[in-house]
Amino acid sequence: MKPTARFKKRYVSFALSVDSAPPPAGEARSIVHEHFLSFFGESGVSSLAFKLIKYDEKSGRGMVRCERSRADETIFCMACLSEWKGKKARMESLSTSGTIRRV
């Protein structure tokens, strides 16, 4: 596939916390995946080019990839997380970039 035909990507970094503490990697992965799936639906996630790129369980910081034109929707989706299994949860977007290195 030509580079021009591929998805135009944006990388959004975030800070995740559940009850004011960073969750372990496995739990964080399921929080992010289930929340995005609930917000966008299966069709929405497929066109979003969504991927959880990395997550550090010590700091609670991570990064997701999305389609360039839908970066605002991705940030809004993150901001809409307020609860996870009865606990207070927060996914705060920190920065956006076109490359992983510069996030």
Partner: protein, 149 residues
């Protein structure tokens, strides 16, 4: 960027210059009635209704008085699933009515506690999701600063 809140002593997040308690504003009006022309007539009113259902007359009165409709992020946070989708849909309709009537619109969190606060980047994304253009976003931020002073 300013943010209206419903409680005092909350911490400021990234990109937010000041948190203004809505109770301290004489022009802030919260209403449940769709035909709240009386509230809309106040000069420079910041009109807020959690239902986002107003008569066309209320929008016109608001436009005449140089006021603005308040869109609150806490209304989105307070709902889940299908109910949340309905709230966002109502907000989009209210935004279209604001454009049609020429009245202003402002965005804030109206947070009651720290968990309800959102940073400037997230508020701007909220505006974009509702369909605002760059120009409208800029105007909305400036209008809030003008009406709060």
């Amino acid at each position: 960027m300013l943010d209206l809140v419903l409680a005092g002593n909350l911490p400021k997040l990234d990109g937010i210059d000041a948190l203004v308690p809505a109770s301290a504003l004489p022009n802030f009006r919260q209403t449940k009635a769709p035909s709240s022309k009386g509230d809309a007539r106040v000069k420079g009113a910041l009109l807020y209704s959690p239902s986002y259902e107003f008569d066309d007359g209320a929008y016109l009165e608001l436009a005449r008085g140089g006021g603005a409709l308040v869109f609150s992020f806490s209304d989105v946070l307070g709902e889940k699933g299908f109910r949340r989708a309905i709230v966002i849909s109502k907000m989009r309709l209210a935004l279209a009515a604001c454009r049609k009537s020429g009245c202003g619109f402002v965005f804030c969190t109206l947070a009651k506690n720290e968990a309800g606060l959102r940073n400037a980047r997230e508020l701007v994304a909220f505006m974009a999701v509702l369909g605002m253009t760059q120009e409208e976003k800029k105007h909305s931020k400036e209008l809030l600063e003008k009406l709060v002073k």
